[in-house]
């Protein structure tokens, strides 16, 4: 085997090993990812600031469902399938293919559906974690939510502001 063929085979092999079903997702199928991303886009919509899509919330979910949230894999698989089923019932299409206004309307229904409410609440909470949490966990790409909120980054260290007052003398400029 020539060196180049060997390398190509190796790369192909490793690709297969870490990307099941030929997709770039760790846990989701491509279809599930589309559905979840569309739901998250309703939970945290794009406007003049980035929303869940730009913030990569679906990547946070995919990463955590292969890690700390592994015990919730079944909930996700069943919940996503059920939302798509409801969506077809509601508008004849999978959730991601519905017009945005219909998506929002459907989610209002789902929020009041006793069977789906727990999964939807979980998804809302996880989407918020992915959007407002630390980028190290796979979401909040480029710290978009922190930029929106105006949380300084990188953090300023050593902000002692001892120039304002001399605590040793008990000075209190506001007194």
């Amino acid at each position: 085997m020539r060196r180049r063929t060997f390398l190509a085979a190796g790369i192909a092999g490793s690709t297969v090993a870490c990307r099941s079903r030929g997709s770039s997702w760790r846990f989701f199928t491509a279809q599930e990812a589309r559905t979840v991303e569309a739901i998250c886009a309703q939970i945290i919509p794009e406007d003049e600031d980035a929303g869940a899509i730009t913030g990569g919330v679906v990547h946070f979910l995919d990463k955590q469902l292969s890690g700390f949230y592994k015990p919730l894999q079944k909930n996700y698989r069943a919940g996503i399938a059920e939302i798509d089923r409801k969506s077809i019932e509601f508008g004849g299409k999978r959730f991601a293919e519905l017009p945005s206004a219909s998506q929002a309307e459907l989610l209002q229904h789902i929020e009041r559906d006793p069977a789906l409410k727990p999964f939807f609440s979980l998804l809302v909470d996880h989407a918020m974690q992915g959007f407002y949490g630390d980028p190290r966990h796979g979401g909040n790409r480029d710290r978009v939510s922190w930029k929106m909120l105006g949380v300084p980054y990188p953090p300023v260290r050593g902000r002692l502001r001892y120039d304002l007052t001399d605590p040793a003398k008990g000075e209190k400029p506001w007194a």
């Binding site: 974690q129 502001r161 209190k172």
Partner: protein, 432 residues
């Protein structure tokens, strides 16, 4: 075969155990200090807003770890479920050297005189087991002072007219005010209240060989990156170890306290870091594992003479547990006030600790520690939806304008058992 006997075993290297270990070791006793968690340092701060000791949606920052420490929770309907250490229904007290003091917000309140005499002050509260303390403030005062100076407290209580008599000031001045403080101080004054600087176990100036607080936003729930927060892990425990009389063993979970035929304590049996059962004999055993784990250990220490567990002849162990819930309110200011200047909390009033008409007790009120973005997600008013454009709009417009003022809820003790053993439950060390 057991390990070499010592004078004292202290179970739990937290707020209580650390101090006891130091006192015993300095008095010349040989001490083994057992801790179920790990020994973290300032380098383990992490600054991870989803995985720390206050927001643990992706796990506890500093223990207990999920695998080794499940608990079983029984709800009011009697349903039994297993609770992971980082899950809801546990609690978020760290399990590590220093215990809760490693990552706490570090307010250093003294009880007021009336807090020791709640039953005398408020009488019998129906359904409650409320009682006076067997000690008074005056008896405890010298020890408050010792702790404040040895562990390190900054603040200034002099503007608080409700404080109990004290002989010495605090060893450190307060940190300079942040923007919230500058708004709340004159506002409280205008209302006729008495705001002052919260006593905090946090260096405001270099103290005890450690630097001053650098005012970052990762405080409560985190390890202090510059080691300016004072807990037992960086004060009394290093002192105990420096005597060479004290040995600290981490990741050791005590199974039971052993007693002999005459009812005397002889030592402990514990699972070490490799889950091997070890026996440590000692003349003295100090139980300082926290409100729930101490009760669990005593209830697990059964013998012929103590069939219901140690210290439990009258079936009081595990009862009268009081929690740490907070109540408060948010105010939205007309313009942004967020100044990113930690720790956030700095100003308090004690006007409502006692003497509230129709209530037994009360509490101090203080401004809150800095809320990290995800922590603010659930703090929307009821009129705002939990998701969608309206939620995002609220986050965007309110995050930098919100001030929270909160206080701990005064809870009454009840005899309903709060901690008891569920026989079928097992930790990995195989005890209930």
């Amino acid at each position: 075969m057991g390990l070499k006997p010592v004078n004292a075993v202290v179970i739990g290297a937290g707020a209580g155990g650390g101090i006891v270990a130091k006192q015993l070791a300095e008095a010349g006793l040989s001490v083994v200090l057992l801790e179920r968690g790990k020994w973290y340092t300032a380098f383990d701060c992490g600054k991870d807003d989803l995985r720390n000791q206050r927001t643990c949606v992706l796990g506890n920052g500093f223990g207990p770890d999920d695998e080794r420490n499940p608990r079983v929770a029984v709800d009011l309907q009697g349903r039994v479920r297993t609770v992971r250490a980082s899950g809801p229904g546990y609690n978020n007290n760290a399990a590590c050297v220093g215990g809760g003091t490693f990552s706490y917000g570090a307010m250093a309140w003294r009880y007021l005189e009336k807090d020791f005499r709640m039953r005398s002050t408020y009488g019998h509260i129906p359904g409650s087991t409320l009682a006076d303390w067997p000690i008074s403030y005056q008896e405890l005062e010298p020890y408050y002072e010792k702790a404040e100076w040895e562990i390190g407290v900054s603040g200034d209580w002099s503007a608080d007219p409700f404080h109990a008599p004290r002989r010495k000031p605090l060893p450190m001045p307060p940190l300079p005010p942040n923007r919230e403080y500058e708004i709340l101080h004159p506002a409280a004054k205008r209302l006729g209240l008495h705001p002052f600087d919260i006593p905090m176990l946090r260096n405001s100036i270099p103290y005890n060989g450690r630097p001053a607080c650098m005012r970052c936003r990762w405080c409560v729930g985190f390890a202090c990156e510059v080691d300016a927060k004072c807990g037992t892990h960086n004060t009394v425990i290093p002192k105990a170890l420096a005597t060479k009389n004290c040995e600290l063993r981490t990741e050791c979970v005590v199974k039971e306290i052993r007693t002999n035929d005459r009812g005397r304590v002889t030592g402990v049996a514990y699972f070490d870091a490799n889950n091997r059962l070890q026996e440590q004999d000692a003349d003295l055993v100090v139980v300082s594992c926290g409100a729930i784990e101490s009760a669990r250990l005593l209830l697990n220490s059964k013998s012929k003479l103590f069939p219901n567990g140690l210290g439990n002849r009258h079936d009081w162990v595990g009862r009268n547990l009081q929690g740490h819930t907070y109540t408060g309110a948010f105010g939205l200011m007309p313009t942004p006030i967020y100044d990113d200047l930690g720790p956030g909390a700095g100003i308090a009033i004690c006007d409502y600790n006692h003497g509230n008409p129709g209530l037994a007790g009360g509490a101090m009120l203080a401004n809150e520690f800095i809320r990290l973005p995800y922590q603010f997600v659930g703090m929307v008013p009821a009129s705002i939806p939990r998701w969608g454009k309206a939620h995002k709009d609220f986050m965007r417009s309110a995050y930098r304008r919100a001030i929270a003022v909160q206080g701990p809820t005064q809870e009454m003790p009840f005899s309903t058992p709060a901690s008891k053993l569920i026989p079928r439950s097992r930790t990995s060390g195989a005890f209930p």
